[in-house]
């Protein structure tokens, strides 16, 4: 009995040991970047890249970053506009479509749902999409950043499933009370749907915060470039591909600590928020995930 107890303890240590190493590997890159952002160029050069922790904390990189604030401030504004306006429109259009197609007796409900579903398994490809946005003159407008991805098929399905599972009694009671469909939607369904709205809204918001590819092909106007594009331009400048030279810093390629500071600067909002919102995400995966 005693030896079994000992193996049990041993087993626990092994498991926790492996997990600690894994956890550290998730954090390590962030620690390196954070430390790099907190030292001066001189220290970075002296230490030749071996920066796990800062020896002497210096905010020079952040000072420079905020000194050049126009481009950054502007990019932040664009990202903020994209996240708020984009998420609002995403939610509005996803909810209305999902609620309508969640009505079990709606004529043509199945073909209409298939109409949406089909776009999830087949698409025209990148080039026709790009040419369409070009054709509609959406390039270099803020709309290019969220209109082409207005409704995500998966999120539509998650919401539709949620609406379909609202107890029918609640709706029937409202109908008996003489409530109109609009009234039912606003005073019965929406208050019940806050958790799913929050989840899907956060999915969309994180998407908009992080998305860079469509922004990079649809936006060429510097004034409209979101944060991620500025970041990418800067990181690229310092590495192999100087694909686009963003007139952001003076000529010499920005130093390591400056790049690190920009990474931190664009990531902190998510880092601060995600531990609090992650349970909504987990919930979203449950509702949308495999049933069973």
């Amino acid at each position: 009995m005693k030896s079994q107890y000992k193996t049990e303890i041993f087993y626990n240590y092994i498991i926790i040991g492996i997990l600690l190493i894994l956890t550290l590997s998730f954090l390590l890159p962030f620690i390196v970047v954070l430390s790099t952002s907190l030292i001066s160029e001189a220290e970075w050069a002296a230490r030749g890249g071996h920066v796990l922790y800062p020896k002497k904390i210096s905010f020079v990189a952040y000072d420079i970053l905020f000194g050049k604030s126009y481009v950054l401030f502007n990019a932040y504004q664009i990202t903020f506009l994209r996240v708020t306006l984009g998420t609002f429109c995403n939610l509005l259009f996803t909810t209305t479509l999902a609620y309508a197609l969640a009505q079990r007796d709606l004529p043509y409900r199945i073909p209409l749902t298939f109409f949406v579903f089909f776009t999830m398994v087949f698409n025209g490809g990148l080039i026709p999409q790009f040419l369409l946005v070009d054709f509609l003159n959406l390039r270099n407008t803020i709309f290019a950043l969220f209109v082409p991805t207005l409704i995500n098929g998966w999120y539509f399905l998650i919401m539709r499933n949620f609406f379909m599972n609202i107890p029918k009694d609640l709706i029937d009671a409202a109908i008996i009370d003489g409530a109109s469909p609009v009234r039912i939607l606003i005073s019965v369904v929406l208050p019940l749907s806050m958790p799913v709205m929050a989840t899907i809204g956060l999915f969309y918001a994180v998407y908009h915060w992080n998305e860079w590819f469509y922004a990079s092909i649809y936006i060429t106007d510097n004034e409209l470039k979101p944060m991620q594009i500025i970041l990418r331009g800067l990181l690229n400048q310092a590495t192999m591909e100087g694909m686009e030279n963003i007139s952001f810093m003076e000529q010499p390629p920005p130093g390591a600590s400056l790049r690190a500071a920009l990474i931190i600067f664009s990531t902190v909002p998510i880092l601060v928020v995600y531990p609090f919102i992650q349970r909504y995400f987990v919930k979203g995966i449950m509702i949308g995930g495999v049933k069973g």
């Binding site: 193996t7 049990e8 498991i15 926790i16 590997s25 998730f26 954090l27 890159p29 390196v32 970047v33 970075w44 030749g48 890249g49 259009f93 209305t96 479509l97 609620y99 309508a100 197609l101 009505q103 709606l106 004529p107 209409l112 949406v116 579903f117 776009t119 698409n123 025209g124 490809g125 990148l126 080039i127 026709p128 040419l131 369409l132 054709f135 082409p148 207005l150 409704i151 539509f156 469909p181 994180v206 992080n210 590819f213 970041l231 990418r232 990181l235 590495t239 192999m240 591909e241 790049r259 690190a260 990474i263 990531t267 998510i270 880092l271 995600y274 995400f281 495999v290 049933k291 069973g292």
Partner: protein, 300 residues
């Protein structure tokens, strides 16, 4: 007809969303017909109706080009390796987390493991460069200290695919484990109880109870991965690759991007894109059919 009128409110509600799908999904599907035409780079879709039909010219050019085999092979190899390592990894992580008895510790580790999921690929690529840059990369410099040689990780064909797979696993392992942990939480505790009485140790319980109990979820997730076999990680590769590794890193998506949006060969790139979309459709459709066969609701 009367019934439709009765439900008019819901049709009005659905209308904006349906119009969105028509314009931004079905119109591009029609637009993919430019693959059978010669579209001029200046007109784009505006010249759609005037452009001459050329049949399968662009498809034949693609299948007979030197890039064809490389691009297909790279897509399948990168995607295949990502499945080989990236698919079991979250299952193992979930099994490990499931063994942690202290709930608070488990929750903290879980939360940290989700972190990479919330970070954009731009930032992730930036951090990969910070670790692997030829001069000043933490890992490169450390290896340099011990061996005296400076490895150009990101520019080397031998390492590049490994970097793609590793960073893919790093970014997805925590998030993908959620679904398995959820499945584990619904396992009946009585099963473990009786196994304990029978003298099973924890390893045996994980192997004989936990794993079989989540097998269905594993199979479904695997089918989903197979359905997305042609998605080898467009954003990740686009951010990390360079001409010196095109030979091993160029996938269908990056090829379409360069040919179409950088070289402006719209019709040719659209043909390559359509080629991929058709195969992807077959894969997804088959995966879904198989999932249905398993007697469940399928993937959707």
């Amino acid at each position: 007809m009367k019934k439709i009128w009765k439900y008019r409110f819901y049709y009005y509600l659905a209308l904006p969303g349906l119009i969105y799908f028509i314009i931004f999904h079905y119109v591009p599907m029609g637009g993919a017909l430019i693959a059978f035409k010669d579209i001029s780079p200046f007109d784009g879709l505006r010249g759609f109706f005037d452009a001459p039909w050329v049949g399968f010219k662009h498809f034949e050019r693609f299948t007979s080009s030197v890039y064809f085999l490389d691009v297909i092979e790279n897509t399948l190899i990168i995607s295949g390796l990502k499945i080989l390592f990236g698919f079991p990894a979250p299952i193992i992580l979930a099994l490990l987390l499931n063994e942690v008895l202290r709930m608070s510790l488990k929750r903290i580790m879980q939360t940290i493991s989700y972190l990479p999921h919330f970070i954009s690929w731009v930032v992730t690529a930036g951090m990969i460069t910070a670790l692997l840059a030829t001069s000043g990369g933490l890992l490169t410099e450390t290896i340099n200290d011990f061996t005296g040689s400076n490895i150009n990780f990101l520019g080397n064909k031998d390492y590049f695919v490994g970097i793609l797979v590793t960073s893919h696993v790093w970014k997805t392992i925590g998030w993908s484990s959620i679904i398995y942990l959820a499945a584990m939480s619904s396992i009946d505790p009585a099963l473990y109880e009786s196994a304990r009485i029978d003298g099973a140790n924890r390893l045996q319980m994980a192997w004989h109870i936990t794993l079989p109990s989540i097998m269905f979820v594993i199979v479904i997730m695997f089918l989903l991965e197979i359905g997305n076999l042609l998605e080898a990680g467009f954003e990740q590769i686009l951010l990390l690759y360079s001409p010196s590794v095109y030979k091993v890193a160029d996938i269908i998506d990056t090829f379409v991007y360069r040919e179409g949006l950088l070289a402006l060969k719209y019709s040719f790139a659209a043909a390559v894109g359509l080629f991929k979309a058709v195969i992807a459709f077959v894969l997804l459709y088959t995966a879904n059919r198989l999932a249905n066969r398993l007697g469940q609701t399928g993937l959707w």
